[in-house]
């Protein structure tokens, strides 16, 4: 199959599905026994690794000249508690990258153990990962080592707990009642019947 001719007027990368085997072969050659799994989707390949290997794989995808995954799309957290299929660990952090050169996407799914939810930060590779990792830290309680400013981003600073975890009660833990209450005390505005 011939690759589609790139549109010179468009700066967006051209989707090239025939490059997916290239990506799979390169990653398997470099990370063969460190990969927990590989799943080929319609437009991308998802590589599952342990938390300790995630940063190396992201760095390899970005800095390997023949791959060139220089486009950080997104990074999100997953809580697999009560997930119907077996998974190695409870949490996962999924990083999605795009290679403008190859025209394919790659996902790195790093499984994070619940007992020690820590992971190496990707901010040194992609500055755009800063706020998404803060969001994952805020809502899932997964700490990113090496993050320059790891603090809550959505919830209040004194909030306790991580509300997107599956065992967090959907209706909260009563934190919505922790405000001073302004009571309605009816007051007479102006005396009406000669009271004053």
């Amino acid at each position: 199959m011939n690759a589609p001719a790139p549109n010179p007027r468009s700066s967006s990368p051209v989707y090239a599905r025939e490059n997916l085997p290239v990506l799979a072969a390169r990653v398997e050659a470099a990370f063969g026994d460190r990969l927990l799994g590989k799943e080929e989707k319609t437009q991308y390949i998802q590589f599952s690794v342990k938390a300790a290997d995630a940063h190396d794989l992201v760095r390899f995808l970005k800095e390997e000249p023949s791959l060139g995954f220089t486009w950080f799309i997104d990074c999100c957290g997953v809580d697999y508690q009560r997930y119907p299929k077996p998974v190695p660990e409870r949490f996962a952090v999924v990083t999605t990258l795009l290679s403008p050169a190859l025209g394919v996407k790659a996902q790195v799914r790093a499984f994070v153990p619940a007992a020690d939810p820590r992971l190496a930060s990707n901010v040194d590779l992609f500055a755009g990962a800063n706020w998404t990792e803060r969001e994952i830290f805020d809502l899932y309680g997964i700490a990113f080592e090496g993050h320059p400013d790891l603090k809550r981003i959505l919830m209040p600073d004194d909030y306790e707990g991580h509300p997107l975890r599956k065992d967090y009660p959907l209706r909260g833990r009563g934190e919505r009642g922790a405000f001073p209450v302004y009571h309605a005390v009816p007051v007479a505005l102006a005396p009406q019947d000669g009271e004053g």
Binding site: Y168, G177, F179, V181, L189, A190
Partner: protein, 205 residues
């Protein structure tokens, strides 16, 4: 010009009645539009529904110059201190309208992050049902507040109980984490993931 001619232009009334009448017809709203109800609020102030017919056309974006707080939209956990600060800054007498389902009861957002009705924490004079309410409902609520003002009634913040800010369990709204219908669940208490025996493999009885 003689004195008997001028006597026709004089009305006699009580000072209190005149003040209340003037107040009710010069409500200066403080818009607090945080969601789609704010769009309907804007529509109400535009020319078709024209809230200026009720003396309320002066939208003051400073709470210090307004006497009617319109809470139109969802109020989140982080927004509630802001709303209370604005309510404190408004000079008395003052009134509050809770616009729409979210401001009045939390609406469909019964989650960890959303206040289930602003009337839990600030006094509300008029509630508006709807998601979002029509401008007619807005005008109805505005006329309700006007009627309260004409009768000389307003909400005061003279009595504030802030003990709950130090200890949430003092709040009458506080519920223990164990009291919730849907959690927190422990992995040990999990129900088995297999299909119940009474159902065939397809899942449908």
């Amino acid at each position: 010009m003689s004195f008997p001619d001028k006597i026709n232009d004089v009305i006699t009334t009580q000072l209190g009645f005149a003040i209340n009448w003037a107040r009710s017809n010069s409500m200066w709203p403080m818009p607090f539009g945080t969601a789609c109800c704010g769009i309907e609020m804007m529509a109400t102030f535009m020319s078709k529904y024209d809230a200026s017919r009720f003396g309320s056309e002066v939208l003051k974006f400073s709470p210090r110059q307004s006497d009617l707080l319109i809470v139109s939209g969802r109020i989140s956990l982080k927004m509630m201190p802001v709303l209370q600060r604005i309510w404190e800054q408004m000079p008395e007498p003052k009134w509050c309208i809770s616009m729409g389902a979210c401001a009045s009861s939390g609406g469909v957002f019964d989650t960890y992050t959303l206040i289930q009705g602003v009337d839990q924490f600030i006094p509300v004079d008029a509630y508006m049902p709807g998601c979002p309410p029509r401008p007619e409902a807005f005008i109805e609520a505005l006329m309700t507040v006007q009627a309260k003002a004409r009768e000389g009634k307003a909400s005061s913040q003279a009595f504030v109980s802030d003990d709950v800010s130090r200890d949430p369990s003092l709040s009458p709204l506080y519920r223990s984490p164990d009291a919730f219908m849907d959690g927190p669940r422990s992995p040990e208490a999990e129900e088995p993931a297999s299909t119940p025996a009474s159902l065939p493999a397809g899942g449908r009885p």
